[in-house]
Symmetry: C2
Subunit: 327 residues, 2 copies
């Protein structure tokens, strides 16, 4: 079978240059491009994506492991990863892990057996030591693990501060932070840390509830939130995700609290839940598009022996909607 | 390279039987299973998913083409397809078409070049004649096209009837149907047909608005809805999707109408938007899980030369939530 190496030899060019032409990436002169096309034609070289996936050097498949696809944050992330991948001539194989270590391990093994170009992995429970020697780039998003080739996160501490500060600026005087998924990852812990820092700096009192969540969709111990809201004089709630905020909004409404007049509400992620809610949910915006772009670019960079940062932290912003402003 | 045929020969079994063992499908006696495993071990046969994808006969990759992943209906569908595929030892390659004919064509070509086992395609604008000779099974979901190998739909006419009848049963006397994506597909037309049939049978008056939607997320001419709601005495609104219903709810709220007390609201799809809304949205439930299962099963059946129905219509049901009941 004709390989990219044969094409490079025939064209008198480096393999990397041919690859850049094939993947339509970086600056390539028309002359060089022409040389590559001529060599390809002469050797009847057909870049077959799946065949290329078989050659460890130039796979164009990316394994994407998420806990569940049917979730506003993950579906938005996957959408962005797929769009970036396609731009560079890559495709994604999608894998639902349910956040279970066992499934994550199976899927990492599947990716390894099939020589994917790289793996993008989101939240889960697999111990990093299980894949430290996998030999394929693993990019984690919002899940810091030493064993990953690169970790991409948003500024969770900054986001925590931003959400709390906004509630304080809107006149709230007793805040509640709801922490979902208190787990081995730092994500929600960092959001909470930023929240506490902002409250302490402003001298504003606050409570914290740690939710039990065994499933991504349904927080289980909302009764604790109910108790605190009833007993304390909470006028601002900051949830560590939009999904939890949506549940809390329902709870507030059932208990007769008006949002935002009596209680203001902030979420995290700025997913489509925040947009669809009425009132619209003020939320800390994760740059999901940029995080997806970086993840795909890092995999391609690693394939091309370029250096990528071990840890990348992207800035967040606040999208203000009606849940914190009278409307 | 050892193939499945070698394994079958060594085990003294049919290729189809070995395939059933490998894919863990259908009834297989322990004795047969044992024979296959022994032959695999003896020949050192390792089923490599990507390698298998290269052999036209036994690809284990399924191309899934959706307009956009970041949409509650599609992400739910993809989630279900991935889970079914994995169960049978298949994987999905995910492709975002934005509903554009050009992209759909590119992705169908990509799938053909890579000898996928089959393609599952959702809503889009590509003319069926463009792929009638592709030589790979194409299963469409909620998009009826003669050129597809099989079409899987939910009972859209029945769903239209169900939603309208529920509003009538709840005491509504002047209904409004909002038709999104009036296009080459029958889907929304069928929902509307069922709606009209139910209204006519009950002697209930109704209006219809056809929305312009160039983007899946944002209906453009909500002003027409506003006009009708203001001028007519509408007390029940049925939207052809949950996403549109969520927008309409916002509009009703902004205009000061109470839902469900003054206007009752029904959506279609029963996606997570319906669940997250407060009040929860009554919605016609599409059996997305069963439709996904059928689509994957049909692809495997076609690979194994089994007959599949050209058109499969699955029953719908109604999930009643607070948007049509006082709470």
């Amino acid at each position: 079978m004709t390989t990219i190496k044969d094409v490079a030899k025939e064209a008198g060019l480096a393999v990397g240059t041919v690859s850049r032409v094939l993947n339509n990436r970086g600056y390539i002169s028309d002359q060089t491009r022409e040389k590559v096309y001529k060599a390809m034609e002469k050797l009847n070289y057909q870049p077959n994506e799946v065949a290329r996936a078989l050659s460890r050097q130039k796979s164009t498949l990316i394994g994407v492991i998420v806990p569940l696809v049917n979730h506003p944050y993950f579906s938005n992330s996957i959408d962005n990863i797929e769009r970036t991948a396609i731009e560079y001539g890559y495709n994604i194989i999608l894998l639902n892990s349910d956040g279970l270590a066992e499934k994550e391990y199976d899927y990492l093994e599947f990716c390894r057996r099939n020589h994917v170009a790289g793996i993008i992995i989101y939240y889960g429970s697999l111990d990093g030591s299980k894949f430290s020697d996998i030999g394929i780039p693993i990019i984690s998003i919002e899940r810091h693990m030493q064993e990953c080739t690169a970790n991409i996160e948003c500024d969770n501490i900054g986001g925590g501060r931003l959400g709390a500060q906004h509630l304080i600026d809107q006149g709230c005087s007793h805040l509640l932070f709801i922490n979902g998924f208190v787990d081995q990852d730092d994500t929600s812990g960092h959001r909470r840390q930023g929240f506490e820092e902002a409250c302490q700096a402003a001298g504003v009192s606050y409570d914290i509830v740690e939710l039990v969540q065994s499933d991504y969709r349904v927080p289980e111990n909302l009764s604790e939130i109910e108790k605190i809201i009833d007993s304390e004089d909470i006028d601002g709630v900051f949830s560590s995700s939009d999904m939890i905020a949506a549940r809390v909004y329902r709870l507030l409404k059932e208990k007769g609290y008006r949002v935002p007049e009596e209680v203001k509400l902030v979420g995290f992620d700025d997913s489509n839940v925040a947009e669809f809610m009425v009132p619209g949910l003020t939320s800390v915006h994760q740059p999901v598009d940029k995080m997806a772009q970086l993840a795909v670019n890092y995999i391609i960079d690693i394939q091309n022996d370029r250096v990528v940062p071990k840890r990348s932290i992207l800035p967040v912003s606040l999208t203000v909607r009606e849940s914190t402003e009278n409307y």
